[in-house]
């Protein structure tokens, strides 16, 4: 069992969740309630990581984060090492390939809030921040929770993009999914089997917990 790779994967998944939580809430609300020019294009761009081959996404990220790009040069100047093959680079990539997994469930959750509820709150003179905290989040949180669980599970499972952008550097970019691949190449089927089983159980528990909470909540609402 490669615990360092496991810890790295958890760290990447938690980091991605923390970054995408505010982004997802903001973008989810915008997309749910606002109409603007090019909205269809924005939604299509955000959904792109769902359908693009990981190698295509990996290629563009490698170009966008590499030493030839503005971001890559700026990061290298500030930190003294390149963004590709580093944990930070992996985190940036992870945030990007998880955008649809975080935003879409949140958008659906905000869309499901009846406009009358928000209008009533506005009439009562609630501030936007208070409305978000007291009305929108309590109503939308099962969607937000599923978004976070999906992001978490998808980060643990992502392989192609991680390999292309991060390589397989222990303690830096070798996630558990990449470590499994490396173990198989080293003829260590038993080690690969143990890590695969752990990943399978975690993903199952995460998804099952999210389903359980959501259905429990819907049940409680119906009987409220």
């Amino acid at each position: 069992m490669d615990w360092s790779a496991f810890a790295l994967s958890l760290q990447l998944a938690c980091g991605t969740m923390l970054i995408l939580l505010p982004i997802g809430i903001w973008a989810g609300r915008q997309l749910a309630w606002r109409e603007f020019h090019g909205k269809a294009l924005v939604e299509a761009l955000l959904a792109l990581p769902l359908v693009l081959p990981p190698t295509v996404l990996g290629f563009y990220l490698l170009v966008a984060l590499g030493g030839g790009s503005v971001l890559g040069r700026w990061y290298a100047a500030a930190s003294g090492h390149p963004l590709t093959f580093s944990f930070d680079g992996l985190l940036v990539a992870s945030v990007i390939f998880n955008l649809p997994f975080a935003i879409q469930p949140m958008q659906r959750a905000f869309e499901a809030i009846a406009p009358e509820v928000r209008e009533a709150a506005l009439c009562c003179g609630m501030s936007t921040a208070r409305m978000l905290r007291r009305i929108e989040l309590p109503l939308a949180w099962p969607g937000i929770l599923s978004a976070m669980v999906l992001t978490f599970a998808h980060t643990l499972g992502e392989f192609g993009v991680v390999l292309m952008v991060g390589g397989s550097i222990p303690g830096e970019t070798r996630t558990i999914a990449v470590a499994i691949y490396d173990r198989v190449q080293s003829f260590d089927m038993a080690g690969a089997g143990r890590m695969s089983l752990l990943l399978l159980l975690i993903s199952l528990v995460a998804i099952a917990a999210s389903y359980a909470i959501t259905s429990h909540l819907n049940h409680a609402r119906r009987h409220a």
Binding site: S4, L10, L18, G67, T84, G171, Q185, F187
Partner: protein, 267 residues
């Protein structure tokens, strides 16, 4: 009704907890990753692990090897991957790195690799290093899948291609080839049971895990360009990487390379 309803910021606790967890994991994984990173050709997969264990026992220091095809590691180094030492299976890549100013010098030859025909225990092919039976099996249909490393970036794949060309199977065998990302994956394919065999590194065929699963025979050395394996310190290599570079040239490290079937250069 939900966790967000609690007055004293229930969501803050969750977030603080996540931040703390994330930091803790960061510290833990950083502790694991302090040893300098060494980019090493896949044929060193087991030999280098053993040398590293001995190096640790003798000097209380250690390195972290990252294995891959020499070609892939070469491009990663060019793109700025944080390696301090490069153990290539092909010296041409080291010279190319030296020309782009990424290395301390032109490095040292540390080993000469050999190619073997590796067959799984139940293979329908006869074990024959001169590949007469491979050619026959290609003709009579016993050979449906054969593993080599990807010639595009793996030195052992390029040598395997030369050997297949020599026995007249190239290019028609290409449709039946399974290409490994590196020679270690090719060896895994070769003994997986899904192929009838493969052309892989001698050093891998000698590892205990493979000895149980497969049979091998050496390919004549003069059938392909020699696998002259060269190592080089990369610019900015720190003390431990330098010490390991020196250690690889000591008799105790060379003995392990010899055990894994490498010929030792006298350079």
């Amino acid at each position: 009704m939900s966790i967000f309803d609690r007055k004293s910021g229930g969501d803050h606790t969750v977030r603080d907890w996540l931040v703390a967890l994330s930091c803790l994991l960061g510290i833990v994984s950083n502790c694991w990753a302090r040893a300098p990173l060494i980019a090493a050709a896949s044929d060193l997969n087991f030999a280098l692990t053993e040398i590293n264990a001995k190096f640790r026992a003798e000097t209380a220091r250690e390195i972290t090897p990252v294995f891959g095809s020499s070609g892939n590691l070469y491009s990663q180094i060019l793109q700025g991957a944080p390696f301090q030492l490069f153990l290539s299976a092909d010296e041409a890549l080291v010279f190319k790195l030296a020309e782009s100013g990424k290395t301390a010098d032109r490095g040292r030859l540390y080993a000469i690799g050999r190619l073997v025909l590796l067959l799984p225990q139940d293979s329908p092919l006869k074990l024959d290093g001169h590949l007469h039976d491979l050619v026959a099996a290609f003709g009579d249909g016993r050979l449906t899948k054969f593993a080599i490393a990807d010639p595009a970036h793996a030195p052992y794949g390029q040598r395997a291609q030369e050997v297949l060309q020599r026995v007249g199977l190239w290019p028609q065998i290409q449709a039946r080839l399974v290409l490994g990302e590196n020679v270690s994956q090719a060896a895994q394919f070769a003994i997986s049971g899904s192929t009838q065999g493969g052309l892989v590194a001698y050093s891998l065929a000698l590892t205990p895990a493979l000895k149980k699963l497969g049979r091998y025979e050496l390919i004549p050395q003069e059938w392909h360009t020699p696998l002259r394996q060269r190592m080089v310190l990369l610019s900015g290599a720190a003390e431990t990487a330098q010490a390991f570079y020196q250690y690889l040239q000591t008799p105790s490290a060379r003995k392990i390379l010899l055990q894994y079937g490498f010929a030792l250069p006298n350079e």
